[in-house]
Each structure stands twice: as C-alpha cells, then as structure tokens.
Symmetry: C2
Subunit: 264 residues, 2 copies
C-alpha cells in the first residue's frame, strides 16, 4: 500500500497526488477540482507522454483531444502550449503536436520529473537524478561551508541529530523528514540558486527511495554518521572536508541504487 505522507514544506513541489492515469480518457474527476481544466488535461497528457504512451513522433491533434477529453479547443491549446514549453511536443501547423524524442525534453522541469517518477520511466529517472545529486551536492556542501549563516548551521546540526534520533526502530518517515530538510539546507546555503532549486528533486528522490525500499531496514548507520560530520564540517567552515564527506554520502546513494535496480 502506498501510504502517502511527507508532503509539506513551503512552496509547491513535485508531488503528484494519487492520480494515476490508468484511465485512457475522461478527466472526469469531480472529487478534487484542481485549478483549471487545462491543468487537469495537462495532468492527463503529461504523464501519458512521458510514460511513452504516445511514442516519439506520434501526433496529437487539437480537435481530437478536445473531443476525447470533452473540453474546448481553448483548453486544449493552452495545455499543448505548456507541453510545448516543456519541449515534450512540437506544434506545427496543419500537422498537430508531435511528440519529440526524449533527449529533447526539458528533463529539469519539475513537472516532467514528477510525471516520469510516477510512470514507467521511474527507474531511469531515479538513476539520473541520483547521479546528478552525486555531482551537485558535494560542491554545494563546499560552498555551504563557506557561506552558511549561523542559523543555517544550527538547522543543519538539528536535522543531523534528528536523523540520529530516528535512525532506529522503524521511524523511516520521521527520518525522511530530517534527511530531506538536511539536504535542502545544504543546497540553499550554497548560495547558488540553481543548486537551491534542486531541493525539490532531492526530496523526491529521497522520498521515492524510502517508499520503494524495503521498509523494514533502518537507514545505514554509516550514512547517518556522515551527515553529522558534514554538519560539523560546515559549522567549522571546513569546505574541503564538507565536500569530501558529502561525496561519501553520494557514493553510498549510488551504491544503494545499484542494489535496487538491475544494471543495464
């Protein structure tokens, strides 16, 4: 059972509600009136495309979509415009919106990431994101060590200690909260806006990992210790050490991934 929780924090993020696009048609959900019909249509088309339901090169015609989903062309066009801005499709006159190859997608778009994480592309997306993390977070930690405010240092140790406190006895949910918060602080403290924006991505990865991993296993004690030491290094303004320790965490995350998903 997919117990959902741990969605929180400020801002909106990549959380996809329990909206599984199994139904091939009819966005008829009177349950939750999300904002706007076009958003609902998007929530149908986006996952469908990223899941490969519409393969590369296939064409979406406006009238067809309008009829299929029982909305006006206006709504369809707005949704298509958004898909186009995500580079999922390319709209051409007299042809329609053709699905672009995956290499051209805006794979950094939070919405695209969410859709892919929710769909059949999950494993691949998770791997890409983890590799990205392994590249970014060590450098972010280095910068954080140089730039973090006293308050951010305090948050860091607070969450590191929180991880220690919740690392045993099946408290994975509580552990996850601290873990996510910890990495968010690091990324934000780096002072780089592009790093900071990866906070949601990291949250998604960590959440996904927790949900999909064997839930009985407590977190790796070594990883917990590393987090504590990173917090110490940042507080001590030891950039090199913060970077190196975070790199060790990243190595652990990659190794974990190799266990979970079969190598290609």
């Amino acid at each position: 059972m997919t117990t959902k929780d741990a969605e929180e924090t400020t801002g909106h993020a990549l959380d996809s509600p329990s909206d599984l696009g199994r139904e091939p048609q009819l966005p008829q959900e009177r349950g939750g009136a999300r904002q706007g019909l076009h958003a609902r249509l998007l929530a149908q088309l986006g996952p469908a495309i990223t899941a490969g339901e519409y393969p590369t090169g296939s064409v979406l015609r406006a009238d067809e979509l309008a009829e299929r989903y029982e909305v006006s062309r206006t709504v369809v066009r707005e949704a298509v415009r958004v898909l186009e801005s995500m580079r999922l499709v390319e709209s051409r006159r007299r042809v329609g919106a053709t699905v672009r190859p995956i290499e051209e997608w805006n794979v950094y778009d939070p919405q695209v990431i969410t859709w892919r994480l929710a769909g059949s592309d999950r494993a691949r997306q998770l791997r890409s994101l983890t590799v990205l993390r392994s590249a970014v977070e060590p450098v972010a930690a280095r910068l954080a060590a140089e730039l973090a405010t006293a308050e951010q240092c305090a948050e860091l140790t607070e969450h590191a200690l929180g991880m220690v406190a919740t690392s045993r006895g099946q408290q994975l949910d509580a552990y996850l909260v601290h873990d996510v918060a910890f990495h968010r602080v690091i990324l934000r403290a780096s002072g780089n806006e592009m790093f900071a924006q990866l906070g949601d991505v990291v949250a998604a990865v960590l959440t996904g990992r927790t949900q999909h991993q064997v839930m009985f296993v407590d977190p790796d004690p070594a990883a917990v210790t590393l987090h504590v030491r990173v917090a110490e290094a940042v507080r001590a303004r030891d950039a090199a050490r913060a970077e190196e320790l975070t790199r060790e965490i990243a190595v652990g995350a990659l190794a974990e991934l190799d266990i979970l998903t079969p190598e290609e």
Copy 2:
C-alpha cells in the same frame, strides 16, 4: 511579391504601418522568434519579467496585456500559461498573473536561462551556471571515461587537437567551436540524460565568455593542455584522472569568472 490587399473585412491588420502607437509594443520578427503571435508575446514578457521590469508581486492582467500588445486574449492566455509553467508567474482568478519571487522560477528552463543571459541578470546567471558546470562536468568526465564509445573518444581527441591548433593567433571563434563541441561530447558520453541536456547551457556560457572577454587574449595554454589530457584520460578509461583534470578546468573557469565580475 508582397502585395498589400486592402482588406477591410476584419479591419484588423496587425502590421498596419500607420499605427504608430504611443504604447509601442509591437513585437517585430526577430532572431529566435518562433512562429506564432503567442511566441512573440512571450519573447516580450519573458525577458521583461526576468529582467525585473515587472518586480516580484506585480500583477499582469490579461485584458491589459491584450490591449498593450495589441493581441487577442487568446494569445495572452497562452503566453501566460507558458509563463506559469516556467513558474515565473502564478495566475489566480480575479487577480491576474502575479510575478513570483525569483527563487521559485524554473531556473533550468532553457528559455529562462536565455532571457536572463540576455538581460540585466546576466552576471549572476553566468556565475550560477559556471558553478553548476564546475559540479557537473567532472562527474560527467568520470562517467564518460567509463562509457564513451570509440567514436566519442575520437571526437574528443579531434576537438582537443582542434583547440590546440586554434589556440594562438586570434582564432577565438574557431577555438570556441571546438571547445563547445568538446564539452558537449563529454556531457553526452556520460550517458546521463540530465548531464547531456546541459550541453546547451555550457555552450551558452562558453560563448558568452568569449564574447565578453577581452578578445585579444588567446586562451589560457594551461586550459588547452588540460583538455588534451582529459581526452587522453577518457580514451585510456582512466575515470579518476578524467574527473580530476576536468575539475582543474572547472577551477580555472571559476577563477576566470572572479576576475571578470566583481565579487559580491
């Protein structure tokens, strides 16, 4: 032959030259301006917002925009939808599209990056991107060393040698071509789709650097040598060395940046 038909049926010609307009916001065709009125409107609004012309919290009303830019509300709405998907604005009923704080923008969106690079935010954007590069490229080089095909290795050495050949005598343009191509190959060869997509970003950074730097100076010979050695390391499947050498390149790029732009 462009013959003007004096069509009075609609009486709405968007290119009527007599219309001078004291609110002259007539988006002319421009390089990069894709087909479609909405794209042209977007090309006006996007840069304006990212440049801070519309500060955070300011509101864009649909009718107002429609009148100001002399387009229909249909066009305005599509443009706003796209801005919304980029998280530049948030559209609410009865309020309009309010500009979000920069921390919430989709700073990885290629279009947003382009706009910011072209506007007043240029220096900051360049710095963010360079830091990102410094994090990603070393890891990408490591992966490339493990995964690159023979053909990619060949391309790599080819471009590295090309850099050597054009590194002296004011051939900066030719040098740039090889430089960009080199980094593109590395990113692509890493096998990570998210890294690969940063190729355009790196190209933008390198191009911007060349354009804004003193054009008389030939590239740093040390950097050129490093590229050659990276190519060698990748060919030799020496992942650790490829990573380390690329990290040295990144350090150089960061140092260069500190010279150009005053630190904050």
